[in-house]
């Protein structure tokens, strides 16, 4: 075998190794951490009403799109939770509802969004953020240098809640790879809704930004 071929083979092997490394689970470096770690259940937000400015940025068939509006989250007297998204001019895009057992239903959605994949994606984002439908019996604890990672088993893949210095800073959804990551900003304390959320859909290639705003101009 010529020297040139050997060099080529060596380079290809190295490239394959690098590729294999990049495909490896991003959670490989985490170390299991047993109890006494407090459950992430304490971070489930308790709220009556919250209003977020919402911006969706993405790309579909090489065309960029941007959709913005206002997201209202409200806990109703009958213990249902509602998520209503409307554009700036007040036109409603969807109205989602979870009952007290976290069972989900769509009250209203505009025809343009009325597609199973779209509804499932939006519902999953909100469910992860509001910590609904989690199997707390499946919770496992991991650690890295800076954070505690709480892992919950979902129907498909896992939900990760990342805690640093007693603040919830990140939520992730993964299979073999990261599917969704949510960066959370302020206040992050147990029981509170975040002030800001940046949701990245790694496979679908779009982001959702949420920024908490005052209830409305009349308050």
């Amino acid at each position: 075998m010529s020297r040139w071929m050997r060099r080529c083979l060596k380079s290809s092997s190295l490239a394959l190794l690098c590729l294999a490394g990049s495909c490896a689970s991003p959670y490989r470096s985490l170390k299991p951490a047993g109890p006494p770690v407090v459950s992430a259940a304490r971070y489930q937000p308790v709220f009556e009403k919250a209003l977020y400015r919402c911006v969706v940025d993405g790309r579909f068939f090489f065309r960029r799109f941007r959709l913005s509006g206002v997201l209202l989250l409200k806990r109703m007297p009958d213990h249902t939770t509602r998520a209503v998204f409307q554009n700036e001019m007040g036109f409603s895009f969807f109205d989602f509802e979870w009952d007290d057992r976290d069972s989900f239903k769509v009250n209203r959605v505009i025809p343009q969004l009325d597609k199973p994949a779209v509804i499932a994606t939006l519902e999953k984002d909100l469910r992860l953020l509001l910590m609904k439908g989690l199997d707390y019996g499946s919770e496992q604890y991991y650690r890295d240098d800076a954070a505690t990672w709480h892992r919950f088993t979902l129907d498909k893949g896992y939900a990760w809640y990342v805690e640093e210095n007693n603040l919830l800073t990140r939520i992730e959804n993964s299979g073999k790879r990261r599917v969704i990551t949510m960066g959370l900003s302020g206040p992050g304390q147990p029981g509170s809704l975040p002030g800001g959320v940046l949701i990245r859909h790694h496979r679908a290639g779009f982001t959702i930004q949420l920024h908490k705003i005052n209830q409305d101009a009349s308050e």
Binding site: R82, Q86, S92, A217, S218, E219
Partner: protein, 211 residues
């Protein structure tokens, strides 16, 4: 022979019956009213107004209120600027639309823009008096001692997907829009209550720049 009430007749035929608004009676001479509207708006080169937008969420028993600045310049330039509780700017100049939020300026070309275009078309129509010629809606005019009410019922499938009905209230004396209500199929509705309306104030062209 028994007379079947109109609403029951409509119900039997499956045609939505839009009741006469409470406190209003139909405008007797619609042609004359249309002419009056066109004549009045002919003198208004610019309009500057503020409006409060209240989204009423019927099932949630809640509302979202926003403060907005509205500018209109003939023939077809509109600037709508949401200042609270979020920032959002929409400029329409001819066939072009500019949208600016807290982070980004862009031209929109989505389903969202169809809504904005239709709402703005209704606004421009009201400003120019051409609302009765809007092909997307069937318009019925009502009146009382203080004003007029235009009931716009969607005539196209696209509009029916978005609105159940749009109502435009006009001041009887000035024929300015005092309230615009968008009613959605689900029962939610949005009121835009106009105030501080001024005519023919100088409005710089840069306010309507879309490039």
């Amino acid at each position: 022979m028994h007379k079947i009430p109109a609403f029951l007749f409509c119900l039997l035929l499956g045609i939505p019956a839009f009741a006469q608004p409470k406190g209003y009676s139909p405008v007797k001479n619609t042609q004359a009213f249309q002419q009056e509207l066109i004549q009045s708006n002919r003198t208004k080169q610019t309009i500057s107004s503020d409006f409060t937008q209240t989204k009423n969420l019927s099932l949630l028993e809640d509302r979202i209120v926003a403060k907005v600045k509205f500018l209109f310049k003939k023939e077809d330039r509109v600037r709508i600027e949401y200042t609270s509780p979020y920032y959002y700017l929409l400029v329409m100049n001819g066939g072009q639309i500019l949208v600016k939020d807290e982070q980004k300026t862009s031209r929109i070309n989505t389903g969202n823009s169809k809504l904005m275009q239709s709402v703005n078309r209704v606004m421009i129509d009201c400003m120019q008096g051409s609302v009765f010629q809007n092909p997307d809606f069937t318009v019925t005019a009502y009146e009382n001692n203080t004003g007029y009410l235009l009931q716009l019922v969607p005539a196209t499938a696209a509009m029916k997907n978005m609105f159940r009905q749009i109502e435009v209230q006009l001041d009887r004396r000035s024929l300015d829009v005092s309230r615009l209500t968008m009613k959605e199929a689900g029962g939610d509705y949005t009121d835009m209550d106009f105030r501080n309306t001024k005519h023919n104030v100088a409005l710089d062209e840069t306010l309507f720049k879309v490039k």
